[in-house]
Symmetry: C2
Subunit: 280 residues, 2 copies
Amino acid sequence: MIAYFNGEFIPKEKVIISPDDRGFLFADGAYEVIRSYNGKLFKPDEHIERMQRSLEELRIKYSEIYKLKKVAEELIRINTLGEVQALIYIQITRGKALRTHSFPEEETIPTVYVTASAFHYDPQKLVKGVKIILVPEMRWKRCDIKSVALLPNVLARQQAKDNGADEAVFVRDGVITEGTHTNFCAIFDGKLFTHPVNNHILAGITRKIVLDLCSKMNISVVESPIAETKLKEADELMIVGTTVEIMPVVKVDDLKIGNRKPGPITLELQRKFYLLLEQS
Amino acid sequence: MIAYFNGEFIPKEKVIISPDDRGFLFADGAYEVIRSYNGKLFKPDEHIERMQRSLEELRIKYSEIYKLKKVAEELIRINTLGEVQALIYIQITRGKALRTHSFPEEETIPTVYVTASAFHYDPQKLVKGVKIILVPEMRWKRCDIKSVALLPNVLARQQAKDNGADEAVFVRDGVITEGTHTNFCAIFDGKLFTHPVNNHILAGITRKIVLDLCSKMNISVVESPIAETKLKEADELMIVGTTVEIMPVVKVDDLKIGNRKPGPITLELQRKFYLLLEQS
């Protein structure tokens, strides 16, 4: 596999991360994952814009962010991923420097690492729906930044796996925030509810698409936190994101949702999402 | 400089961290810093025990932890640090694996990276005291684990630097938890107050020494959260830790403490600490 590393296209085996890299020592960096369908990047500008925002919030200066779209396209081409589904992974850290918590010298060059790899998933899940678990919110208070400080997400996702679930969704002060790598939506009486965009969740790109689709479908959207205790009254639940797309949730811990079948609004959103994909 | 990397002593320039290392991708690892005074490790068993606890909490299996003390001693010897002050840095991650949040296969070998380097500091600070700033607690809810997910600490420490301060100390729900790399103690009416050991702070090894010294000095210790609003009534403040030892705090933001001079209990704790060092 050919990767992009600090300005060069090189075999991934030749990518050398220094032990002084602040990504390794401090989780001092941001990332993005862009999906590619048959060689075409999906919403690349939105992902790159979000990366730029993350870097700005972290005060990491990287002047060549405009190049990343071309880099992603080139990686798809070189790695012959033009006819499959693929994920572009982009990570930018504050670079390498002697270890001290505060920022290194201004001249420190950020580390830029990008890969493209084939993405395989189980399409049955999109049809049958998945189980999720609820876990207490453990993360920091800047979940709006897509940082690589993902340890709480790792632990929660493993807890999901240990419990035969696909995703762990965080509960903060009695309300659902989002999943370890997804946003969370619920349908109550024909309306779609999801946590508002603030410092407790990532402003998901798929989440935004879902809200736009709802608008076109005349489905009211309520951007308001969903109480954990309300879930048993939900008609439909879904997790949404770049890798899961629009994924029906049919079980939350031991609670069955919608008689364990994906609901009509979820299915219609999926259908509209794939139409959008075709047109884009 | 010679480092220890996955079982071998090699030049640090030859240490290659894979971009698939979960330390780099997910902050999925733990670390320790041990101080060495003139070739002698200070409290190595306590640090290694705490590393073991961090690894257990993260479910990272590393069977050779008992070797680390010898490794640290060997690094001091090889790098001729026997007659200076040095820091041993130990980082252990869950190893390298294809990127997915949940844990990789059981057989994945942890990455083990250890360095020893000379440690220079400004002794005047110990005499004159330092300024700290207070910042809202932004970190996750498992600060008892010494993980490398240090991004909030990085941002807070930089904020301190931007404000001419040595340390940023977190305030959670109106009470002081700890600093970005130190614990926090306050003297009120001859008693020492510090946050109790729970999931919101790291169980500091220097903190423990301070409490033991207080016990010997017949100074009452109250392990109870300190309200931010109470700070103006404090007689003395200090931050304590492996790198700062027992550091007087004479200013908190714009608030002067003890007429900007280190207090008598702080100075006596420092003195007793250095006596302990000599004897150890």
